[in-house]
């Protein structure tokens, strides 16, 4: 079977985010493969290690810099990659339509998508992709088994967890807890440089008509008092309670 793992390249979680008049400024920022997407790559590798005959294709839509994150996926164990290279900012629905075209052309059986990536804070890509393809999906997935042509998963819901059985083909969105991703080894990083990384353009895939666009980005700032209360536990605690009551007025 063929598994596609969709990935994004995002600012490292520790990177300082700045914004200017034109929105978020990313020059000088360290980029990494999104943590949520690593779970997808790892899960695909684990299916192979569990004895399933799988080809793993990493798929990404984004600017040229994404290549580094794609190479990480290849070093982790993806067999080859497809990069829809574009500088155009596309919303999740528009991206789903483009990516679905690649998934169809590849004839994939299972697609992993990160549950909520650290740049756009969106959980929409997985369900939207499933809808464009006419497939079922499981979101916020924490356990996954492949048995007799169907997926058995466990996923988080609003008030707990539930088990689902999905017929293939299907889309699965990931979540922390699904697995513990491995680190790429040096020999595998070297090998990844020789793996196939095919470039596709938006035009070849039918173009894209995003229906929304981001018109402003500001850093969220909130004035904080930043006051460290000194003293032993008892006196610091008493002072804290006084400040919460008299100054912050939240008690």
């Amino acid at each position: 079977m063929k598994i596609i793992t969709v990935l994004k390249q995002v600012p490292d979680a520790e990177a300082r985010i700045r914004a200017g008049s034109g929105g978020v400024e990313l020059d000088g920022v360290t980029f990494v493969i999104d943590g949520m997407d690593e779970y997808g790559v790892e899960e695909a590798i684990r299916l192979r290690e569990a004895g399933h005959d799988v080809e793993i294709v990493a798929l990404a839509l984004g600017p040229a810099r994404y290549e580094e994150a794609i190479r990480t996926a290849l070093a982790l164990g993806a067999d080859r990659a497809v990069h829809v290279e574009t500088d155009v900012e596309l919303d999740p629905i528009a991206q789903a339509r483009v990516l679905a075209e690649v998934v169809r052309q590849e004839g994939a059986d299972l697609v992993f998508v990160g549950g909520k990536q650290a740049d756009w804070d969106s959980a929409a890509l997985g369900p939207a992709l499933a809808e464009v393809l006419g497939w079922p999906h499981s979101d916020w997935t924490t356990e996954l088994k492949l048995a007799g042509g169907a997926l058995e998963v466990r996923h988080d819901t609003d008030d707990g967890q539930e088990s689902l059985t999905l017929p293939l083909p299907a889309v699965v969105t990931t979540q922390q807890g699904l697995n513990e991703p491995r680190y790429p080894t040096l020999p595998n990083i070297m090998k990844a440089k020789r793996k196939e990384l095919a470039k596709r353009s938006l035009d070849e895939l039918g173009g894209a008509q995003p229906l929304t666009r981001v018109v402003a980005q500001e850093i969220q700032t909130r004035e904080r008092r930043g006051r460290i209360i000194e003293g032993d536990a008892a006196s610091a605690a008493a002072e804290l309670v006084r400040l919460l009551r008299d100054e912050a007025k939240v008690l």
């Binding site: 804070d121 819901t157 609003d158 707990g160 689902l164 980005q217 460290i228 536990a233």
Partner: protein
């Protein structure tokens, strides 16, 4: 026409459903608002105290509730009422259904919004970059739109009694029920709901053990009438249930008071609580990143400071 799509939880309307009314009225600007409610008719009747036209969705295919079936039902109600904007909660269910509905309707998706405005085109504000950035998103063109609304941001609406409830029976296809639902486990309740709590006491790995978490956090939460939250590290260790996790992959909360005990302050955690009105942290490491976003901080051992805060609260409430 603006259509609210929501589902009852344990037989009654969740608070988030009423928040949708506030958003729908803002978007409608005087135009009619309608709602479709999955669940008992009593829940639909509750919403009819706010919205003139309510459709009560009842079908065996909607129990248990699955994303594809709800997408189909929402699409059919929207068609019947001629609604071109659909509003849902940005909870897990809404985030699973809204993208599908947007694709099916050829609609724009405004996701997890914290503010909306309609002058000079439809715009919304939302967070990005792990809630460190607030962005304004504009809908291009005037087509259909699906909006998901971040819970606990919008105020509750004023009642507008006198709405009517009519049953609505959607028709489903085979694909709507192809996913089968097995065992479900609901999070243990009892305490005040985390998302609705005015105060939250949150514990991290610094509490040391599951027993210490219970001993140090619960008395404080009781004294404050607070909800209990945990970091991923705590949930992964099995000390507390996943339903209490706050952060990128957990819940998003914004109480008046957030008291963080033994929490380092990783961005993934902060993204779920950085809108809290007042943040307090107790951590033995003066350089812990959490101290960068506090209103009040105490550098010290939670084993000593947490009971001291509980005692000081008791004293203050007694006096």
């Amino acid at each position: 026409m603006i259509l609210i799509v929501t589902a009852a939880v344990n037989g009654s309307l969740p608070k988030s459903a009423l928040e949708l009314v506030t958003v729908a009225r803002e978007l409608a600007g005087g135009a009619p608002v309608a709602a479709a409610v999955v669940g008992p008719e009593a829940a639909a009747a509750q919403l009819a105290g706010y919205v003139p036209q309510v459709r009560s969705l009842q079908a065996p295919e909607l129990e248990p509730l699955r994303a594809e079936a709800l997408t189909t039902a929402a699409q059919q109600v929207a068609a019947e009422l001629g609604a071109n904007t659909v509003v849902m909660s940005a909870n897990r269910l809404g985030q699973s259904v809204a993208p599908r509905l947007a694709v099916r309707l050829g609609a724009a998706l405004l996701e997890d919004v914290i503010a909306v405005s309609t002058d000079g085109g439809l715009r919304a504000k939302r967070y990005s970059y792990l809630a460190r950035v607030t962005e304004t998103v504009e809908v291009a063109g005037g087509g259909a739109t699906v909006v998901t609304v971040k819970p606990n941001v919008f105020p509750l609406p004023e009642a507008q009694p006198g709405g009517s409830v009519a049953p609505f029976a959607p028709t489903f296809g085979a694909q709507d029920t192809r996913v089968t639902v097995g065992e479900r486990s609901a999070a243990a309740g009892g305490r005040v709901k985390l998302e609705e709590a005015k105060a939250v006491v949150a514990g991290g790995r610094g509490l040391g053990s599951a027993e210490a978490f219970d001993q140090l956090v619960e008395p404080l939460a009781d004294a404050l009438g607070a909800g209990i939250a945990a970091t991923r590290a705590v949930v992964d260790a099995g000390w507390r249930p996943y339903a209490e996790q706050v952060g990128q992959t957990g819940k998003s909360v914004a109480p008046d008071l957030y008291l963080a005990l033994g929490i380092s302050g990783a961005v993934q955690h902060l993204s779920g609580m950085n809108r809290s009105k007042v943040i307090v942290a107790v951590n033995k490491d003066a350089d812990a990143p959490i101290f960068k976003i506090v209103d009040y901080g105490i550098v010290g051992d939670v084993a000593q400071v947490a009971p001291a805060i509980a005692a000081a609260l008791e004293e203050s409430q007694g006096s």
